[in-house]
Symmetry: C2
Subunit: 89 residues, 2 copies
């Protein structure tokens, strides 16, 4: 199965690693557009208000399941809500 070409491909792609990805998101903006408080959004997503605060502020990332719930709630894709900058950290 494996041949030389495969290894070349992998090496060529090694810079896809952790060095990238600074994450911002449009949650506060989307939440306010719906006229919701942090507490109401938290309830709708089944997380605490602290989690909404931390994610809106960028203190940490949402987990993938939570990101999905957020995307479904706002009717947009994960990629359109979370912005992955191609910069350090």
């Amino acid at each position: 199965m494996g041949d030389g070409v495969i290894i070349e491909n992998v090496k060529h792609v090694l810079h896809f690693g952790k060095e990238a990805v600074k994450l911002k998101n449009r949650i506060r903006e989307l939440r306010r557009a719906m006229g919701l408080t942090q507490d109401e959004l938290a309830g709708a997503l089944s997380v605490t208000r602290q989690t909404v605060i931390a994610i809106e502020k960028g203190t940490y990332c949402a987990s993938l399941p939570l990101a999905h719930r957020i995307a479904v709630f706002f009717g947009e894709s994960i990629e359109s809500i979370f912005i992955f900058d191609e910069e350090d950290q």
Copy 2:
């Protein structure tokens, strides 16, 4: 700012919570289509082989940043790679 309608909306939407989301993904399939080993994919994503194994098997979810790297690597959206079933857990 807040009015009665808003509260109605929130109550109406409370079932978007954790009860959903059982997660599978197409990573093994996509990796094999590229003729890569788990170890090579792990290297390309800057994670360990254990992480690739666990995510392929569904032992746990990728974090959002890792899900994003995976999506970029395979040239697809997060939503098309990770499948969120609307079932329990």
